[in-house]
Point group: C2
Chain length 409, copies 2
Amino acid sequence: MKNLLVIQSGGPTAVINSSLAGVIKGGFDNGEKVGKIFGGLFGIEGVTEEKIVSLEKFREEGMLDLLRQTPSSYLGSCRKKLPKLEEDREFYERIFEVFKKYDIGYFFCIGGNDSMDTVDKMSRYAELVGSDVRVIGIPKTIDNDLALTDHTPGYGSSAKFVANSMRQLKKDTEVYGMPSVIVLEAMGRNAGWLTAAAALANDESTRAADIVCLPEVDFEMDAFLARVERVSREQETVMIAVSEGIHDKNGTYVMEGVSGVPKENDRFGHAALGGVGQLVRNCISNGLGLKVRSIELSTLQRCWASGASLCDVNEAFEAGYAGVGYGCEGMTGVVPGFRRVSDKPYKIEIIPYDVKQIANVEKKIPTEMIAEDGFGVTDKFLKYAMPLIEGEPQLKYKNGQLQFAPKVW
Amino acid sequence: MKNLLVIQSGGPTAVINSSLAGVIKGGFDNGEKVGKIFGGLFGIEGVTEEKIVSLEKFREEGMLDLLRQTPSSYLGSCRKKLPKLEEDREFYERIFEVFKKYDIGYFFCIGGNDSMDTVDKMSRYAELVGSDVRVIGIPKTIDNDLALTDHTPGYGSSAKFVANSMRQLKKDTEVYGMPSVIVLEAMGRNAGWLTAAAALANDESTRAADIVCLPEVDFEMDAFLARVERVSREQETVMIAVSEGIHDKNGTYVMEGVSGVPKENDRFGHAALGGVGQLVRNCISNGLGLKVRSIELSTLQRCWASGASLCDVNEAFEAGYAGVGYGCEGMTGVVPGFRRVSDKPYKIEIIPYDVKQIANVEKKIPTEMIAEDGFGVTDKFLKYAMPLIEGEPQLKYKNGQLQFAPKVW
């Protein structure tokens, strides 16, 4: 009988705590193999500082339900890139010392691309030193850019927020019966999955996304403006979604290339973006003389649990739960991922993937899901993404406000 | 037996169509006095152009339910300021000609401050020429700045979006355990009701609004920065809500005074604001060296029907419904408003107010609802506003997307 430790890592999502709830429930349900359930605060950095808390309070009635609907990382997070094994062995020794102290036999890291690198390195270190700690990654990212898995928990809820924003903004935009343009800026540096979700807003009665600009397609301002102009001649409102990461054919982000703003970097070395919607807005306004409003969804798109996708909430939970099962079966260095069995009815199965094949790989939108002219998506994308935003969870509100799980430490 | 004509005017809200549904239902239910139900497209301007459509299709099962949950102005809107009676009598003659042609006996305008001016002028014209057309205003505004009525339909849902945004952003902001500041910019030029709603996000377990800057209080950047600095010394995250309309003691909008951007005006002569959040963000970042993110809710805050307040949706409907009752009783130049009977349990009654006392009057937050230091609200405000965001409507979704009433013309 060994104890379980779970951390959360990278950027938050609306359902990362549903995966946490799945891990905790998995621990409770595997009582013959799993002893106490611990959480590590602020990711792997918190583990080195022994910021370990008991999660036993989640045995209380209703607590896991509240956790499932609490947005963002309940345990806190960090963005630490782990050192290479050969460069800083002490770092790993320190972590495994903490594991020993708390008698940890199962370690779970809920995170995205960079966090899977953490899982990869730690499982390799465990193998190297002959430790029997099971190291398992639980996938999450609003970007949907993890390799192998059909899609990633976190994506569906953010995609739903983007799509429903487009739909409701469309209604807002058309009221005066005057020509106007909306530019909605969505997150996603290199993979345009979230921006593409804007196209889900279209249905028989509402055309809420006219132009979608993905980072998978080289952006040319002239071609873009020509397209906007063409659409604006055909209809009163033009609804545009742009990815924060659109770039020209040399790979220069539109934001960097045009504005000359100093290039800030986040701690992983990714260029810090944002504001491209405003820039595109100005180009349309100056170039075409149209009335344009730009809207940046900003961090709301990753924390809007009050509009989460039920499919996403449930799958996030199941992924966490399945991960504990893998650990109990003795697996390590694996990640529960989704294999799609059918589109209609939508059906997936959860299977273990090798973390080595996921860490540090970015999955972009494949060509067959992108419209030939580069300004939209194909039916193949819609068929793929639509089930992921399906369903509305029953949420607990009090005084009109979404309720969160209380801190248990 | 006379026909009914309804228009929508001014800026859209999440529940203005619920009021429209109330008017339509009121018309259906008063079949002994009301004949056909017509809608005028694009406000009063559309009436002069005879853009009149039949709304009889709303007799079909489920149609009014869809209308209740459709954000923004279903019939379209305009921002026309009506000429004075003595200046352009022809304008009014034209409208009453259209009324005659469609045998209109009941005219409803769903709108805010400026729209109540329309109702006032039209009812005075009707009196002047001895017309028996009943002219009735149905209140709506996210700004909550209408006089006499306890509050205004539209406010509760926008307030709920602001409060729930603050709450979820708070969760997002605290994940890294590092000092950071959020500046959320809310709408409301002269009245800070919507910005004040950020304070509703606070409860026993979550402190989601630390500083609230209202246009009712003269803004001084130095005092503000000192306050931010003080809070940032006491806690890791600082959550700030600012109104787009904050101004210095001379009445100069912070946005105008500091940035020197050219002063655009909308068609009512209000200065076009926006972007003050970004400006405040820069001042905090440069002045205090803190990590700050600014978020502008923009038009999402007035069209987010997928997170509407049930109280607001219902009251908006009831106001529309009551208005038709007033018309059938022979009243004109009136507006159904809310009189609060008790806070706990929350209870209101709907009574007719004289539109003359509402038109062109702006109700600001009274002093007793504003914290003495000017950076927050009092319990009196919380007690007032909390019931207004209460309850979550059962909404119809399809494929993960909020469904809208289809166009019937």
